[in-house]
Assembly symmetry: C2
């Protein structure tokens, strides 16, 4: 039986088009058909233009240009600028806003042959107020935020690749909740021009995909470099099981899943080490709060001064209240702590190739709490290390939960190699 084109990975699509098995138009049509069927329930998209998407696919087929993601449809979080679609940041303040150019990540995707399908739902300003998106595995549940639409669309086979962003856990969490591979790169490697800033010293792009190979491919495309295959690992990895001070906040059912996975990985040859970080790393949870809110409230001065009544209460009561309360001295103190611990972290990888922790504290909750379990992510995001979550668990009610790995800063390719090994082992 032929798999529906919309269920193929990006890597498979590139191969299929390259070998003449099918056209980019056929893939785009399959994605659009899936969206037509499912979008009323999932609500992953804030802007779609099927005619425009199909026209770009036909053009691609005519030109025969190829490219590393040649003919692959992709979606982007609606805080990312595009020349030919509105970019609204999930905010009524920016309704209909036209950026007039493509963000760096969009232009790099198009240069590599990618076909922009549409803009995916973001929570308001990539923060608290949620959009309409629902979890494709159970539409009574949240898909997670803030990259809600990006994760849901990839999970629901509407598109094989989507770009999100992460300032706390905004790519890893929805990827875990929706049961896909989610990746947060080493901070600073990808250009963010044309992407709405939330908190510049923490923001990165995020990639939502359905395989580790796709993540690795798209990461290189977004770096503007020639994609290279993930290296094969010669020996199973040394994995630091890193529970951290957040472990008590992880659901016991999730704890059990990760403990089990550790045993399975060990049985398959991995070395599992109980990895404990020095105590002071726990301070980064609080540091993340003060860094992110200090920056957020300044970034959005225009919105706050001119359109306060159109900003959600959740942001006003949290990020904005914190940001107005936090002093500059505290900001610099926390920023400097984070910088120092990043350097210290670089020296802590002698015994481990990767570190391991859950991708979320629990299954996606019923209802609209898109930001459940936020404390899990803060320390890691402040450390600027790359993270990937793999969809290998099912929770008590059958909803997906991810297993998360980290590597040393700039060792993203090492992370992919070991994550792919773990994904093969855990299925």
């Amino acid at each position: 039986m032929v798999r529906p084109r919309n269920e193929l990975t990006a890597t498979e699509i590139v191969a299929g088009i390259g070998s003449g098995q099918f056209t980019a138009e056929a893939v785009m049509r399959a994605c659009l058909d899936r969206i037509e069927t499912r979008e009323p329930e999932v609500a992953a998209w804030t802007y779609l233009n099927p005619d425009q998407a199909l026209a770009s696919a036909r053009q691609f087929d005519r030109d025969g240009k190829g490219g590393p993601i040649g003919g692959v449809p992709f979606g982007i979080k609606d805080i990312i600028d595009t020349a030919d679609m509105p970019t609204e940041w999930g905010s009524p303040i920016h309704k209909g806003r036209q950026a007039g150019r493509d963000a760096a990540c969009v232009a790099l995707s198009r240069k590599a042959g990618g076909l922009l399908l549409g803009k995916a739902v973001t929570t308001e300003l990539a923060n608290r107020r949620v959009g309409p998106t629902r979890n494709p595995h159970d539409v009574t549940r949240t898909p997670g935020g803030s990259s809600s639409g990006s994760a849901a669309a990839v999970a629901d086979f509407m598109v094989p690749l989507a770009i999100g962003t992460q300032t706390t856990g905004s790519t890893i969490r929805p990827s875990s909740f929706c049961g896909i591979v989610g990746y947060r790169p080493t901070w600073g490697e990808h250009r963010l021009h044309g992407v709405m800033e939330a908190s510049g010293s923490l923001d990165t792009l995020g990639i939502c995909a359905r395989s580790v190979d796709d993540v690795a491919l798209y990461r290189d495309v977004l770096l503007g470099i020639e994609p290279q295959p993930i290296p094969e690992t010669s020996v199973p990895p040394r994995i630091g099981f890193c529970r951290t001070h957040i472990w008590p906040k992880v659901a016991s059912s999730t704890q059990a899943l990760v403990e089990d996975a550790a045993q399975t990985l060990a049985k398959n040859g991995a070395t599992i080490i109980d990895a404990e970080l020095p105590d002071e790393f726990a301070e980064l949870t609080d540091a993340h709060r003060w860094i992110s809110s200090f920056e957020f409230v300044r970034t959005f001065t225009w919105e706050i001064e001119n359109h306060r009544d159109r900003i959600g209460d959740g942001i006003l009561a949290n990020r904005i209240a914190d940001g107005l309360a936090g002093s500059f001295d505290r900001y610099i103190e926390k920023w400097s702590l984070a910088e120092r611990l990043r350097l210290k972290m670089d020296s802590l990888w002698q015994d481990c190739d990767v570190l391991m922790t859950p991708g979320a504290t629990d299954e996606a909750p019923v209802g609209w709490d898109a930001f459940a379990g936020a404390d899990l992510y803060k320390m890691w995001t402040a450390l600027h290390v790359p993270a990937i979550t793999l969809p290998v668990f099912r929770g008590p009610t059958g909803m997906p939960i991810g297993l998360q790995f980290f590597a040393r800063r700039h060792a993203d390719r090492t992370l992919f190699a070991h994550a792919r090994w773990a994904h093969r082992v855990l299925g």
Copy 2:
């Protein structure tokens, strides 16, 4: 004799309006009158709307709102977004572009009572191709770039404050060439949302002003914090005279001016130390090139892919050629070197409060070479340390040259304190 209002500093304007000596409208009118007289020769502005500026001043006078820069006209480099004016990046590609919102730095200025006067000329994409601006001290000469209009407008008494940016020497150089106080803050402290990115890991805002006090005031406004006066120094500073590996590229006449200044400062009580940085710091000159070009070419993928024919030859032959030639491995290697040396630099301030070097290698050249002496700035900018240039020298033909000071990262207020002391001594 009453000094013309357009020649007052921001600090003087705030005091004068506050005490009822004059109105914001009178100040704005004086600035606009100056512009009307001088703009045909200096060409500092790319967008002016005198009616809009006057209306905002009258509104300010009616509201009586005050604020740290209440009633002070300011200009901004035309790579900074505004809700009510076009933002064109010095590029024909972006002619007439409307951003639809204010950049963080503009919104913070307005929140503090500042009155936006207009958009100042930038070189193309804050890079090679120069705009029409001429040096107000001698219109046959360049004002320096890339913040050409911001520096020229402040120097020519068209406006007391202007925002520029710096990725190499783009605020310090034009400030030195035009004879004003120019300041480049510690990297990372100010939000850059709404400011065109050139090379994100090096970009900062820059401030052009006519006094150190004004720079300190505006820095706090742009940080979104309550401005604090510069602390008085209790003893003269310990100044590291830091010639660096670039010294042979400094004109001998400039070398002599700085050597003389060192003697004068010593006579007035400063401790002058011959400061030598470890050899490896010289590698940052080359590192700056590869970091900035790798980032630049990716940031501008949309422009390069869609409008290559409207990009200047100078950028294509330099930044873009370098950026396409540079590998990712080299980029990460240079980025990591810069990060390591920043931390090392933090430990090198035991003997010195500030370091001292020229603000430019020479006077502004005759003609259009807006980027003369670029190597002087690369290491310092890559180190992320704050810099200030003071207009204390005249070169062989009578053109201004600045004296530049640096301090430890995040010690910008210390820098101001010692720079103000030096400015008083050197006149």
